[in-house]
């Protein structure tokens, strides 16, 4: 088994009202960043795990997302990276 660090992004599902993201976008507009079109606030998780290879580590984290880390009703997730550690 090898050690891996898997990076996951969890964000509010597209189309759902994201009041937190909107509040941050409004604040950025107030600061003068008028070019900002939208902001979505989510979570970033770094998971240290062992697996036979990178693909297995990713598959395992995908299952973790489906079962606990993301709520399928309200959130989407993406594996941002898998690195040997």
């Amino acid at each position: 088994m090898k050690s891996f660090r898997v990076s996951v992004h969890i964000v509010p599902r597209k189309g759902l009202l994201d009041p937190q993201g909107k509040a941050v976008a409004d604040a950025l507009h107030t600061l003068g960043f008028q070019a900002v079109g939208g902001v979505h606030v989510g979570r970033h998780l770094l998971i240290d795990t062992t697996a036979t290879d990178a693909a297995a580590a990713e598959a395992s984290v995908r299952e973790m997302c489906a079962r606990l880390l993301a709520n399928p009703v309200t959130e989407d997730f993406e594996i941002a990276g898998v690195s040997a550690s």
């Binding site: 509010p12 759902l16 009202l17 009041p19 937190q20 509040a23 979570r43 606990l68 880390l69 709520n71 009703v73 309200t74």
Partner: protein
């Protein structure tokens, strides 16, 4: 009729629920520690309000994996009455006992205030003594109470009459102003298909006595008593 009230680390309305069972209804109640595997003969299960596991990850997300939840799910499957109040509603949704999810309030603020809800469905264990359209005033106290569900499920929830309570104004109308947290279709509470499991964001266990501003919460507990004894 024995009430079992689940205590998760961070639950803070479990004693209120015990009070509802014992002082208001005169029924025995037992607190069930979340790590237990035993409902101790409880006929009715209350998932109380609070901030189980500090709302880490998502409200209710970790509590649903507490050992006792397996027993609660089996109890619900057998048709046993379960109510999820506030954080308990969030836990019931995360556990798949009820459809949907609760998200951050649309206005981002934590809301602690009385609200008026309208009874939409009286065919549940928890609303059998209500009449349809009855208005109840109860407190809310939550930051994540915006009921959300995907479009297909919303169609089913509305189509099958799974909505039990809606936020309404003084005239009993589900207006945008009355929809304090921005829930879809003003939904304040839902049920499962069988009607034995109900979840809601408002706190009936904090509305048991006119001295506390409202006694409108009593009817939910009286309903479950009547249903189980029937």
């Amino acid at each position: 009729m024995k009430f079992g009230i689940v205590s998760f680390p961070g639950s803070n309305c479990d004693d209120d629920a015990v009070f509802a069972a014992t002082e208001t209804l005169g029924q025995p109640a037992v607190k069930l520690w979340h790590k237990s595997h035993d409902l101790e003969g409880s006929d009715v299960i209350v998932l109380p309000g609070g901030f189980s596991y500090g709302d880490y990850l998502r409200a209710g997300a970790i509590a649903r994996f507490s050992p006792i939840m397996r027993e609660v799910a089996a109890h619900a499957e057998r048709g046993g009455p379960v109510i999820g109040i506030c954080n308990g509603f969030q836990i019931a949704c995360e556990a798949g006992l009820l459809p949907g999810a609760l998200m951050r309030n649309a206005g981002l603020q934590f809301l602690s205030m009385p609200v008026t809800i309208r009874v939409e469905h009286t065919g549940t264990h928890w609303t059998s003594q209500c009449h349809e359209g009855q208005r109840l005033t109860m407190p809310i106290a939550h930051g994540e109470g915006r009921y959300t569900v995907d479009a297909a499920t919303l169609e089913r929830v509305e189509g099958e009459g799974l909505v039990v309570f809606r936020y309404v104004d003084a005239n009993g109308e589900p207006t945008d102003d009355a929809n304090v947290n921005g829930s879809l279709d003003n939904i304040a509470g839902v049920r499962n298909a069988a009607g034995n499991v109900v979840g809601l964001m408002p706190h009936p266990e904090r509305a048991l006595d006119p001295l506390l501003g409202s006694a409108d919460g009593r009817v939910l507990f009286e309903s479950v008593l009547a249903t189980v004894h029937a």
